[in-house]
Symmetry: C2
Subunit: 395 residues, 2 copies
């Protein structure tokens, strides 16, 4: 039969990263493409013990319908962890969502009319950009600098575009650049958002994965008027497969988001919520996070050393102090999709930068590398192969 | 700070049932309000064994990111089960979703522009109605008869309203009425949908729970032109807490739904998908379903006997041949919300019919009763208490 899609999704295409994901199962593939935590960091033995206990003794809760807001003990634990970093004011509320991605999608659904604007870092996280596009939001890119978003430029963009409802930022170990926003810029961002009376959507999935330098306060921790919508996730510190994230924001906004979540998936998998809750009660997740940080710090250093050794000098790369990504740029106008295709022939997967651009028609010579999953020898081998391709096609 | 919600959700309110859910934890409460499977039907011991095995041996899959379409072995198993009932044509595709609810929401997002219409049974499932409302769809109610939707009325509604994109139906053991659409009407519905070139969204969460009479083919099984979008669920036959459903529809439509799912929750919890898959491989789910059917058949009969004994004669009730709901009507213009409030004072929860109406401003003397979860003695006690309230306020 003939049919048409809705205007909002007519031109929506899947993330190239998600599509690449299917190719990654190819034997021998070295992947710098995903955004996956290292599987050896999963506390699977502990979770097996907990799962057994829950299913044998509390299956009437774990397997039954639950309330949309989330499993109450887990909400309390998340609140307590957020309080430690100053997140959550009077007038805020916290709920569990089916991964941080759902938090971003629900906030967009609740706030954005067609042709409303959203200011985004340029480049930014493709999953968020596509969620915004799926509601026909207009995206306004704000350039990234070495210390985060150019907030002066944001101020200018907001002055010229009164349709913008919120600014989306990943201030810490940003996806895709690995860049962290300075404290000064965080404060300035809050002031600019206040001046233009818009929300800040602060996405912080990597914030706990700092392997170098000092923590910088979250923007939410400096928020005095419930202006910051904070999205967090268990994906990078416990498990992405369980699809557990959380939102902390103005309680009126959260009430509406709960209604939106009800029609979206009723509630987040209760068994998964109980697994996380029991893990937080019975084990030391901070010890677990510490191990991940050590691993990712070492892998990042190794990748940087290999880049230094194998890449031509025109290629610049960021130096993340945490998280799982770094960002390279050939600085020569060559489309990184060419590099991505050529290196894939050598069984190395990278993510060309175009998908991360708010303006999806832009050609970019930048690309993203992930260092959290590949084994050390694969990092050496893969960056070496990528270096050869860059010498041939990207110099 | 001051802000406005998007037009699409400004007037969206939570389901009264979901709100009532929070009150149901009150000790001593007898609930006929939910739509929950009986917890004693959960195969928790088997799932504990499977969970342990998966987490100890395949946590690198279970806890990691997965592909949006779903866990491949589970998709194959779902397809095989659907093929047995004739669901799934050439040109169709099947994916896993985070509960049937997500399937309904994603289809709506992909197909409905603001002010497009959706034809719905009157009454219908509030979760679906609210999903439609959350995209500013216009709802067109089509009256229910003893053998299902009045398809002549549907034809008339479609002739008068060219903005209608699909008709939503739960043809088997409908929520909230428990009514099953006759074979003749299913065939007529397909003809009418073809005549007006619209999709049929066939929601079938209860279809496997027939405890009396003969199975009637699904509408999808008679579909020859990929016109029927079939939504199924593991919620009523395995566990709702795991949030596992599936969609089978035209592959072009499914491809777009996958993109929408990507921005909604990336993918459905992999661990939960593996639990279901292994359960289907290692155990006999049909044997499990048979036990549920016997239990629900007995509980339905008990509730019907109690209704006969304790309700005033003005109250009519449906006689479901399966599923978990029946529908009562005082037939007297008395608002069933009054009954619901009065009987709640006696610790008995029912669902007033208003929430199930496509036109949410309608006052109705009808209400929904669920018989799958309350213990037998609670059914007797609760229906007796409800009968007293009906004699006092609803005669």
């Amino acid at each position: 039969m003939n049919f048409e899609f809705s205007n909002r999704v007519q031109d929506l295409h899947g993330s190239a990263i998600r599509e690449a994901f299917k190719a990654l199962s190819k034997p021998g593939m070295i992947s710098f493409a995903g955004g996956m935590p290292a599987p050896e960091m999963f506390p699977n033995v502990e979770l097996a013990k907990i799962a057994n206990d829950i299913l044998l003794n509390r299956s009437n809760i774990a397997l039954q319908y639950g309330i949309t807001e989330g499993y109450a003990p887990l909400i309390a634990q998340v609140k307590s962890r957020l309080n430690k970093i100053g997140v959550g004011n009077e007038g805020d509320q916290t709920i569990i969502v089916t991964g941080g991605q759902q938090g971003i999608e629900l906030i967009t659904k609740a706030l954005i009319n067609e042709n409303d604007g959203i200011a985004c870092e340029n480049p930014s996280f493709v999953g968020a950009l596509n969620a915004f596009r799926s509601y026909n939001a207009k995206l306004y890119g704000v350039d990234m600098e070495k210390d985060g978003m150019n907030v002066d430029m944001l101020d200018d963009v907001l002055t010229k575009n009164k349709n913008i409802k919120f600014v989306y930022t990943i201030p810490t170990f940003q996806n895709p650049t690995g860049i962290t926003m300075s404290l000064a810029k965080r404060k300035q961002l809050l002031e600019v958002a206040k001046k233009h009376n818009i929300f800040i959507l602060e996405d912080n999935p990597y914030g706990e994965l700092r392997f170098y330098g000092e923590d910088i306060p979250t923007i939410k921790s400096m928020d005095t008027d419930n202006r910051v919508i904070y999205v967090g996730s268990f994906s990078k510190i416990l498990s992405p497969g369980l699809r557990l994230g959380f939102l902390c924001a103005d309680e009126t906004l959260i009430e509406k988001v709960v209604v939106c979540k009800q029609v979206s998936d009723v509630h987040t998998n209760i068994f998964a919520q109980m697994l996380a809750s029991e893990y937080l009660s019975e084990y030391d997740i901070d010890e677990q996070i510490k191990k991940s940080k050590e691993l990712y710090g070492a892998k990042c250093k190794l990748m940087k050393d290999c880049i230094e050794k194998y890449f031509p000098k025109n290629v610049t790369s960021t130096s993340p102090q945490g998280g799982i990504f770094l960002w390279c740029d050939m600085n020569n106008g060559v489309d990184s999709k060419i590099i991505s295709a050529k290196v894939l022939e050598r069984n190395v997967a990278i993510v060309p930068g175009a998908g991360a651009m708010p303006n999806s028609n832009v050609v970019t010579s930048a690309f993203r590398l992930n260092y959290s999953t590949a084994a050390d020898e694969k990092i050496v081998q893969g960056i070496s192969a990528l270096g050869e391709v860059l010498y041939e096609y990207g110099k």
